[in-house]
C-alpha cells in the first residue's frame, strides 16, 4: 500500500519540458505516409503522432508547399473534403528526413548520457 498524502508538486510546463515537435511540412508528410487523408484527419493524426495541433493556416501553408514540391498530390474530392496522398518522391524525402532526425536524436541522447 502506498501513501498518497503528500501533495504532488506542480510539474514544469509540458510544452517547455517535452517541446512538441513542429515542422509542419514534415508532420504532414508523416501523416500521409500511412494513407491518404483530408485536412481534419491530418490534424488529428499529427496530434496522435507528436502532440502538435496544427492551425488551419499552418496546415494549408504546408500542404501548398508540399504540393508545389511534388511531394504530395490531391485526390478526387470526397463531398466537400479534399484528400491528399504522398507521392513516391515525398516518401523518399520523408524517409531521408526521418533518418537524419534519428541520427541526430541518437547523437544528442549520447551526449546527454555523458552528463
Amino acid at each position: 500500500m502506498r501513501s498518497t498524502r503528500n501533495v504532488v508538486e506542480p510539474e514544469p510546463k509540458e510544452s517547455s519540458a517535452t517541446g512538441h515537435y513542429s515542422d509542419p511540412p514534415l508532420l504532414v508528410l508523416a501523416s500521409l505516409a500511412n494513407g491518404p487523408k483530408h485536412g481534419h484527419a491530418m490534424i488529428e493524426d499529427i496530434v496522435r503522432l507528436c502532440g502538435t495541433r496544427l492551425g488551419p493556416g499552418t496546415l494549408y501553408g504546408a500542404i501548398a508547399r508540399l504540393e508545389q514540391q511534388g511531394w504530395i498530390k490531391p485526390l478526387p474530392p470526397e463531398e466537400r473534403r479534399q484528400p491528399y496522398s504522398i507521392t513516391a518522391e515525398g516518401l523518399r524525402v520523408l524517409r531521408a528526413r526521418l533518418t537524419t532526425l534519428r541520427q541526430f536524436a541518437k547523437a544528442g541522447l549520447k551526449q546527454l548520457e555523458a552528463l
Partner: protein, 378 residues
C-alpha cells in the same frame, strides 16, 4: 466556423492562392472549430502567403525556416507588397478587437476541467489499486467522508469522474488500455480530514473527492493531461418561462457534538448529493445544477452532448422527475412499470422542473493525455 467568417478569412489570402485552394480551404474552415487562436493562425498564414507566395517564386519546404524569412526583406522593398501586408495587419487589429468580447464570453462557458496547477491537490491517506475480477461487469463508485471505493472502473471512467467530464467527446481514447483495463480502488481519507469533510457542503465534499482522485491518478498512473477547446453541439439548461419549480435545500447544520458518530457503513451519506431511480424516474436530493447537468449529459436522449448549466441557480435542490424514455424501456413509478405515455425528458423538464434544454453550439473543453502509465505497485 460559420460560413461568413470562413469566407472572410479565406479572402485574406492572395488571389493566386485562393484560385487553387480557396474553395477547399473555405469548406475545411466551415467544418472546423472557431476560436481566436484559429483566426489568428489563418491571418498570420495569409500574411506569410502575401510576403512569400507559395505559387510564385522559390519556395522553402519549411515556411518557418530562416530562409523563408529572408525573403521578407526582399519583398518589402517592392512597394506593391505593402498593400496586402497593410490589409492583413488591419484584419489582425479588427479581429483582435472583435475577439476580446469573445474571449471573455468563452471563458465563462469553459468548465475548466483541469485544476489550476499552482494549487496543491488534496489527496487520500492511502490507496490500493487492484485489477478488477474478470467476472465483474458493474461500475460502482462509493464515497463517504472517510473513504472512497471504486469497482470495475477503467482509467477513462476515473478521468470522467475526477474531471467531471460530461461527454465521451471530451475524453481521450488512446492508449487503448485506458478503456479496456478495469480496476478496483480502495482509498482512505486521513483521520484528521474526516471531520473537515463532514462539515463541507455536499458539492464541496464531492469536489474534494474529485480532486483526491485527480491526485491519485497523477501519483499512481503518472497521468498528465492537457486540454483544448472544441466547438461542439451542446444542450444549455436554462430556466423556462414561469421560473424554476425546485425545492431549495437549506445550509447544512454542523455535526452534532457528542459520542454519536454516524453509522460506520455510511458515514455522512445523507448529506451527499444523491440521484436515485431508474430510466424514466429520478429522485434528486441536495443537488446543484452543476451536478445535475452532469447527470443529464449521461442520458441517452442527450445523444452524448455536453449539457451546460445556464440556469444561474446557485443552490442545492430536491426534486423528482418522471419522463418517458425514448430508448424502449418502460418507465417506473415507485418501482412499478408504467405505460409509456408520459412526457419526453425535454417536456418533463419544462413541466415538472421549470427548466428547459436549448440546443446550441459552444466551445467545450476536451482532454488530451500527455503521459500515462499502468498503475504503480501498492
Amino acid at each position: 466556423m460559420n460560413s461568413a467568417l470562413a469566407r472572410l478569412l479565406t479572402r485574406l489570402y492572395p488571389r493566386p492562392w485562393r484560385e487553387r485552394y480557396g474553395a477547399e480551404f473555405e469548406a475545411f474552415l466551415q467544418t472546423g472549430p472557431t476560436g481566436f487562436g484559429t483566426s489568428m493562425n489563418i491571418v498570420w498564414s495569409a500574411l506569410c502567403e502575401h510576403i512569400a507566395p507559395t505559387r510564385a517564386g522559390n519556395m522553402d519546404p519549411n515556411p518557418n525556416s530562416l530562409t523563408s524569412l529572408s525573403s521578407l526583406s526582399t519583398t518589402l522593398k517592392h512597394p506593391t507588397a505593402y498593400l496586402p501586408v497593410a490589409m492583413s495587419l488591419t484584419a489582425v487589429a479588427v479581429l483582435l478587437v472583435a475577439a476580446l468580447y469573445g474571449i471573455f464570453h468563452v471563458e465563462t462557458l469553459r468548465a475548466q476541467l483541469l485544476h489550476p496547477a499552482s494549487e496543491p491537490l488534496p489527496s487520500f491517506e492511502v490507496a490500493t489499486i487492484r485489477p478488477s475480477h474478470a467476472d465483474d461487469t458493474k461500475l460502482g463508485f462509493r464515497m463517504t467522508p472517510a473513504e472512497f471505493k471504486v469497482q470495475n472502473a477503467s482509467l477513462t471512467d476515473l478521468i470522467r469522474f475526477a474531471y467531471m467530464v460530461k461527454s465521451t467527446a471530451q475524453l481521450p481514447q488512446e492508449p487503448r488500455w485506458i478503456n479496456s483495463d478495469k480496476f478496483d480502488i480502495d482509498a482512505k481519507i486521513a483521520e484528521s480530514q474526516i471531520e473537515v469533510m463532514k462539515k463541507l457542503t455536499p458539492d464541496h465534499r464531492f469536489e474534494q473527492n474529485r480532486f483526491m482522485v485527480q491526485s491519485l491518478l497523477s501519483d499512481r498512473f503518472g497521468l498528465k493531461l492537457s486540454s483544448q477547446m472544441k466547438n461542439l453541439p451542446v444542450y444549455a439548461l436554462v430556466v423556462a418561462k414561469g421560473g424554476p419549480r425546485l425545492k431549495e435545500v437549506g445550509a447544512l447544520s454542523p455535526p452534532q457534538p457528542g459520542p454519536t458518530p454516524p453509522p460506520a457503513t455510511t458515514p455522512g451519506f445523507a448529506h451527499m448529493p444523491t440521484l436515485t431511480g431508474g430510466r424514466g424516474e429520478l429522485k434528486a436530493g441536495a443537488v446543484s445544477m452543476h451536478f445535475f447537468t452532469d447527470w443529464v449529459s449521461r442520458q441517452p436522449e442527450m445523444a452524448d452532448r455536453v449539457v451546460i448549466d445556464a440556469t444561474g441557480l446557485k443552490g442545492s435542490y430536491d426534486f423528482d422527475l418522471i419522463w418517458s424514455p425514448d430508448d424502449g424501456h418502460t418507465p417506473l413509478l415507485n418501482g412499478t412499470p408504467q405505460e409509456s405515455t408520459g412526457p419526453s425528458i425535454f417536456t418533463a423538464f419544462q413541466e415538472q422542473l421549470g427548466l428547459k434544454l436549448e440546443s446550441r453550439k459552444a466551445p467545450v473543453e476536451v482532454l488530451v493525455i500527455d503521459q500515462v502509465e499502468p498503475p504503480s505497485q501498492n
